[in-house]
């Protein structure tokens, strides 16, 4: 059985977990077994609808006290449940919480783990999974040598597949270990799309000359419904918050569309974004290295090009 861990916050299942269910269902099909989901805590989502993503059953530890994430408690419960359900493969989204617990679960189950996976397993010579390495500059095919396997799948790398299933909801009852972490404050930026969950990203660099010029970028992001990001110099200069920094030492993202405005395209920046499906580069310097990594390029002044692009998008949306 393939067990997929469902991550959630504020009573809502995260998009990356939807993708993890589809990925886990595809592995279950390869192995000829069932795909079942596991959720710790309570959400507002209709859990039987997870069948549409490929889960035949959803196991829920329906306990409000689990709504605050606690890596030690979560890893312990997931390992116990995976053992009890005799799961062969345990799938996580390689997102913030997945990174914190999947490796611990692997240790507890004596299972080999691949994090940052970006392919279905190749079963020809055992069980090999491809993952991104060198911050997106290369791939490595990793063989898992243990009977049990843990895989954390990169966001936006598999997609969502539709299934004609209604999942059976099974409530579990287990003693909850004492909390090891007390959550004292949550500060969510309201109305902003989390960068790692975003399909569309608009990103700015030093070419925008100063934080006071970010309005044109924010307008474009709003018109598209995109998240906003920035290059390292921009975040180092505190023009934009640190959590917007994408690149080798920031966060790595793989949206469907990445629009780079006034970013030269240093190798460290490209490492964080080069798995984006489509890259648009807007730069007044035709020699900017980013053009070599782009799909579409506009050589021109960002202060003219970006508002024109925003207007063109609004026109397109208006005509739809």
């Amino acid at each position: 059985m393939v067990l997929i861990y469902i991550d959630h916050s504020e009573k809502e299942i995260k998009k990356s977990s939807h993708e993890a269910i589809s990925y886990g269902a595809a592995i279950a099909k390869q192995l000829g077994c069932s795909a079942e989901a596991l959720i710790l805590g309570t959400v507002n989502d209709d859990l039987t609808a997870l069948g549409k993503l490929g889960a035949s059953k959803v196991h829920q530890l329906n306990n409000e006290s689990l709504n605050n994430f606690d890596a030690k408690v979560y890893a312990s419960l997931i390992a116990t449940i995976a053992t009890h359900l005799n799961a062969e493969v345990i799938v996580f989204a390689h997102n913030i919480n997945g990174k914190a617990i999947a490796p611990a679960v692997a240790v507890k189950l004596d299972a080999g783990i691949v994090t940052g996976a970006c392919s279905l397993p190749n079963l020809q010579n055992g069980f090999e999974v491809t993952k991104t390495v060198f911050s997106g500059k290369a791939f490595a095919s990793i063989k898992i040598e243990t009977p049990k396997k843990v895989i954390a799948i990169n966001q936006n790398s598999f997609g969502i597949q539709n299934h004609e299933l209604t999942a059976t909801l099974l409530e579990m009852n287990l003693p909850i270990p004492p909390a090891s972490v007390k959550v004292t404050h949550v500060n969510k930026i309201v109305g902003e799309i989390p960068l790692t969950e975003a399909n569309l990203v608009v990103s700015g660099g030093r070419g925008l000359k100063g934080p006071e010029n970010w309005g044109i970028l924010l307008d474009l992001a709003k018109a598209l419904g995109a998240a906003t990001a920035c290059s390292r110099p921009v975040s180092d200069s505190d023009w934009r918050p640190h959590h917007e920094h994408v690149g080798q030492t920031g966060i790595q993202i793989a949206p469907n569309l990445y629009i780079a405005i006034g970013i030269s395209g240093a190798i460290q920046h490209l490492a964080g974004v080069n798995r984006s499906k489509t890259i648009v580069v807007i730069n007044k310097d035709p020699e900017a290295p980013f053009f070599k990594a782009g799909d579409y390029g506009v050589v021109g002044d960002a202060f003219e090009v970006v508002p024109a692009l925003t207007a063109a998008i609004l026109k397109m949306k208006h005509n739809e």
Binding site: A71, I113, V181, H242
Partner: protein, 247 residues
């Protein structure tokens, strides 16, 4: 306060990524090695800041690697570690590495074990989480702020679209990222002092790897950028909608 800081060596961020031996090994030819930036800039420097506030703090460094890691660990000592342990193993399996660090951590009495959020070569982000299972300790990942008050830690960690403040009782494990501290450059006094700081070499404990790398590959090259004139933004929107199908 006893702090164990985990240090890994990685290729420089500008290193050319190429492979040898039938694409089964990273080509180390001409590669400059550095301390993994997350381990150095955020985790180690924050440990040093803690020691500056409370001089009774001991900062122990641990690395798992062959003799070639020593310049890296000397640099970490020059920045401000007190002593270092090198476990003499060349594994690149996260489980083996975590087991080695766990075995050393069990022998000491560490209040805080610090790692970077991930290494910039394998990007596995496994060691902190694995240590939490091996040592049965609380773990907070992707932290950008840490304050210690007696035997408790106040940590701010990243969550999707925001931040969360956590209170944790020591001992614990924390993985650090941007915001935690600022990069420092070792000074001459530190470099001189590092030469005589203890660097203990320990043989690895026996443990089996759970994974092995079979093959590396490079992403396919982009076919070339399609240039659109700055006054043709309707055309760009059309391409994004109809050709790329991303909006």
């Amino acid at each position: 306060m006893n702090i164990l800081v985990c240090i890994s060596k990685t290729p420089d961020t500008t290193a050319k990524i190429a492979f040898t031996e039938g694409n089964t090994k990273f080509d180390e030819n001409g590669v400059q090695w550095i301390i993994n930036p997350y381990d150095e800039w955020y985790s180690l420097v924050r440990a040093i800041e803690i020691k500056e506030k409370d001089p009774t703090t001991n900062i122990h460094l641990i690395t798992v690697g062959g003799p070639e890691v020593e310049p890296i660990i000397r640099k970490a000592l020059a920045l401000g570690g007190d002593e270092a342990i090198r476990v003499n193993s060349n594994s690149n399996d996260s489980y083996v590495i975590a087991q080695q660090i766990g075995a050393i951590a069990k022998q000491g009495s560490y209040d805080l074990i610090m790692t970077g959020k991930e290494t910039i070569d394998y990007n596995s982000a496994c060691i902190g989480s694995m240590l939490s299972a091996i040592l049965d300790l609380p773990f907070v990942s992707l932290a950008n702020h840490l304050e210690l008050n007696g035997n408790s830690a106040t940590i701010i960690r990243e969550i999707e679209g925001g931040e969360e403040t956590n209170e944790v009782t020591l001992p614990m494990i924390i993985s650090c990222q941007k915001g935690m501290a600022e990069q420092r450059i070792p000074n001459m006094r530190g470099i001189m002092a590092a030469r005589t700081k203890p660097l203990k070499i320990v043989e690895p404990i026996a443990t089996n790897a759970h994974t092995s790398i079979k093959e590396f590959s490079l992403p396919p090259a982009k076919t070339g950028v399609k240039l659109i004139a700055p006054d043709q933004m309707d055309e760009l929107v059309k391409l994004l909608k109809e050709e790329a199908q991303v909006i």
